[in-house]
């Protein structure tokens, strides 16, 4: 590890230390605002608002979280917590992300009988949140400045899952090796 220490430091110039308190409250906010999907809010809070990670670092963490079981943003919370504050950081990020949604969802369930508009609100929030999710993916793709082959891979993933509704595991197992080969071909690493 010592020989690569210099390069690693260089890669981490942009990164900063994030305290346990900051992690907890950051993820509390992400959970509280995460209507229809957590990814847009995770990106907003972590990249634009608090600058914990670069766009690229965040996309890589989401990418790893995507091929593992579990929600990609929850896997990202685990990896981000561990990166800044080890195991206690992981626990604080998870607790922060889940605390408010759990309180809200149980309260909603209790008052559900008197809350006839739930289907209407669900459709409205889902429709708007769908835009939020799509906009976030497009914004990240633009900011990262994907190479032509990476753009092609991203488009194939989108069409296969979003348009053709092919099975996710099969698509990912074929596309990830191809995408890695494309990265090697374009000498991106």
């Amino acid at each position: 590890m010592n020989t690569s220490g210099g390069q690693q430091k260089l890669e981490e110039v942009l990164s900063r230390t994030v305290s346990k308190r900051e992690l907890f409250f950051g993820f509390l906010k992400i959970g509280l605002l995460g209507f229809g999907g957590v990814a847009p809010w995770a990106r907003h809070v972590i990249i634009e608002e608090r600058r914990w990670l670069t766009e690229k670092e965040f996309a890589e963490i989401l990418g790893i979280g995507q091929i593992l079981p579990g929600p990609n943003t929850m896997n990202a919370a685990v990896m981000i917590g561990d990166r800044f504050q080890g195991v206690s950081g992981v626990l604080l990020c998870l607790l922060g992300q889940m605390a408010m949604p759990l309180v809200i969802v149980t309260s909603l369930a209790v008052v559900y009988e008197r809350f006839a508009a739930v289907a209407e609100v669900k459709a409205a929030v889902t429709g708007a949140a769908a835009g939020l999710v799509m906009g976030t993916a497009l914004k990240m793709a633009r900011n990262i400045k994907l190479t032509p082959l990476a753009l092609l891979v991203g488009s194939i993933a989108f069409v296969a899952i979003g348009v053709l509704a092919w099975p996710l595991v099969a698509v990912v197992s074929v596309l990830v090796p191809l995408s890695v080969a494309a990265a090697a071909l374009e000498r991106r690493a």
Partner: protein, 182 residues
């Protein structure tokens, strides 16, 4: 409270956690099959209600599983179901994160990270499209979703503005009969 249910709840959701590649939405049909058909814990109508409620609340979509636990066995059920769906996958993510960091100077790890980025972005975009489909498919509904997306792409403002405006436009469109009630 039904204590006897806690163990089956833990077992069903811990297994689902390990296979939930792509998140809870990817295993939603299997969750329904387990909860309604295999275990007989609730009927389809109750399941649909819980699904709707969990989608009005913010947060990771695994809170749907928490809500199922709450419905079955109160607060203890909520806690057990939440831990069962979270622990296995979070544990894997923890190990994977450590492995990637430990060998981050290896070229193959850097290539893997590079290769995963466009796949992840394509899949997030795809999940947005699927959400749009479940919401509504009328032109005004699609226009609202796309306008919200455009605001996010072209503005650095807090996305809460886009979400609030999009939701209001949607409710207004529903009220004035521009959209079919879902």
């Amino acid at each position: 409270m039904n204590v006897g249910l806690l163990l089956p709840i833990a077992r069903v959701f811990a297994i689902l956690s390990l296979v939930s590649i792509g998140g809870v939405n990817a295993v939603l049909p299997e969750i329904r099959r387990q909860v309604v058909d295999v275990q007989g814990w609730m009927n389809d109508a109750t399941f649909a209600n819980l699904f709707a409620i969990s989608h009005v609340a913010p947060g990771p979509n695994i809170i749907m599983v928490s809500l199922i636990g709450f419905q079955l066995a109160g607060l203890a059920g909520l806690l057990i179901a939440t831990l069962a769906i979270m622990l296995p996958s979070c544990w894997l993510a923890f190990i994977a994160g450590r492995v990637v960091t430990r060998w981050s100077d290896q070229r193959w790890i850097r290539l893997l990270k590079e290769g995963l980025v466009p796949v992840a972005l394509g899949l997030i975009l795809a999940s947005g499209i699927s959400m749009m489909r479940t919401a509504d498919q009328d032109p005004p509904a699609i226009a609202i979703s796309l306008a919200t997306a455009a605001v996010v792409v072209f503005s650095r403002r807090n996305p809460l503005w886009a979400l609030a405006a999009g939701t209001c436009a949607y409710v207004v469109a529903l009220r004035f009969g521009l959209l079919y009630h879902p």
